[in-house]
């Protein structure tokens, strides 16, 4: 009986030691799998967690339908190519006789299948496509931080953009027949803020979002 008790203590101590070694070995890998800014390593996990929520919104149809790789916007929750051969045009507002605002008004139509709307309805211009379609989460993240790809914004300005921009806000009031992003606008802005304040860390994994239409 006494021998068994002593053996148990030895086994417990051995398990604790092995566990500590394993934990020590794993912890640095969290940091090395991400592109860090100047944040302390302890913030990396929080930053990555926040960005995973941000990504779930950016890749929802309400955002991705206009943040496309090519020149044709998508429409609906299925993200089908926009009817009528609609094209981006140089300034993102369409082509002659097919400007976005020819159909999209300053407010949503109340009719099902009719155009949604906000003032100055548009997609990103040809010179700054901000196309996330087909990018990995890490690629989207790095493009958001790159002023050459994000409309010349600092990360602090990204927070203002997602908080105040009328078309971003439209995502949570998209009119009849369109799904909402997976979290509230308030939660989204909060997670973008958290991501920025924890160093705007980007994952390096190659999970592809959306289709490469």
């Amino acid at each position: 009986m006494r021998r068994t008790k002593a053996l148990n203590i030895v086994i417990d101590v051995a398990l604790i030691l092995i566990g500590s070694v394993v934990l020590f070995a794993i912890m640095p890998k969290v940091g090395s799998s991400a592109t860090r800014g100047s944040s302390p390593a302890g913030n990396d996990a929080a930053s990555l967690r926040a960005f995973s929520v941000v990504t779930s919104v950016l890749t929802s149809p309400r955002c991705l339908n206009c943040h496309v790789a090519g020149d044709s916007p998508l429409q609906g929750d299925a993200g089908t190519i926009h009817n009528m051969n609609v094209k981006r045009g140089p300034d993102g507002r369409g082509t002659p006789a097919m400007h976005c605002a020819n159909c999209h008004q300053d407010e949503n139509s109340i009719q099902l299948h009719a155009p949604p709307g906000r003032p100055d309805w548009r997609m990103p211009p040809a010179s700054m496509r901000m196309g996330w379609q087909g990018l990995s989460v890490g690629e989207i993240c790095r493009s958001l931080k790159d002023p050459a790809k994000n409309g010349g914004r600092t990360t602090a300005q990204l927070i203002e953009h997602v908080r105040d921009d009328r078309i971003v806000n439209w995502g949570w009031d998209p009119g009849p027949g369109r799904s909402l992003p997976p979290v509230s606008h308030e939660e989204f802005v909060g997670q973008v803020t958290e991501w920025v304040q924890t160093g705007a860390v980007c994952p390096e994994e190659s999970q592809v979002t959306g289709s490469r239409r």
């Binding site: 009528m84 609609v86 094209k87 002659p96 006789a97 097919m98 020819n102 159909c103 008004q105 139509s109």
Partner: protein, 158 residues
């Protein structure tokens, strides 16, 4: 509520709810029935009119957006059917049933106001929002080329 509009060059005052679609104002209040009701949800282009130079879908444009703006309907494109697009449409015998054609003509006129010599693909891009159930697309494209040619000839004369 009264709203002032400029329709085909004439000042108009309309007494209607500001949320009335422009198409209803044109057809029911101003008796300009050349502009057609097609789908009512901005999908077909039959109701296209020109609002400050843009080929808008009048079934989607609220009267409040049109207030104080210049609106041109098919009736006002020319006083005598002499607009190059109207001439070309006759020359190429474009319409079949004709229901979509006023919208098609207005879209073509807007295209040519910004592009004097559009290519096939530029015509397709500009005209894809106007659906023709008779399938007159090949004649529409030919007529837009012809209208562009007529407009260039007129410009050279003047």
């Amino acid at each position: 509520m009264e709203t002032k509009l400029t329709v085909n060059g004439a000042q108009k005052v309309v007494d209607a709810d500001p949320r009335t679609p422009l198409l209803w104002v044109l057809r029911d209040h101003l008796d300009l029935t050349g502009t057609k009701y097609g789908c009512g949800i901005g999908q077909c282009g039959a109701c296209t009119v020109i609002l400050d130079g843009n080929a808008v879908r009048s079934c989607q444009v609220l009267l409040s957006r049109a207030a104080g703006k210049r609106i041109t309907t098919i009736e006002g494109l020319s006083s005598d059917r002499s607009h190059p697009v109207q001439q070309a449409w006759l020359m190429e015998q474009v319409p079949q049933c004709g229901y979509c054609q006023s919208g098609q003509i207005m879209a073509a006129a807007v295209l040519l106001s910004s592009n004097r010599d559009p290519s096939d693909s530029e015509i397709d891009d500009a005209m894809s929002g106007n659906i023709c159930r008779c399938g007159t697309y090949h004649r529409i494209r030919r007529a837009v080329h012809r209208a562009a040619e007529l407009a260039r000839k007129e410009a050279r004369k003047s």
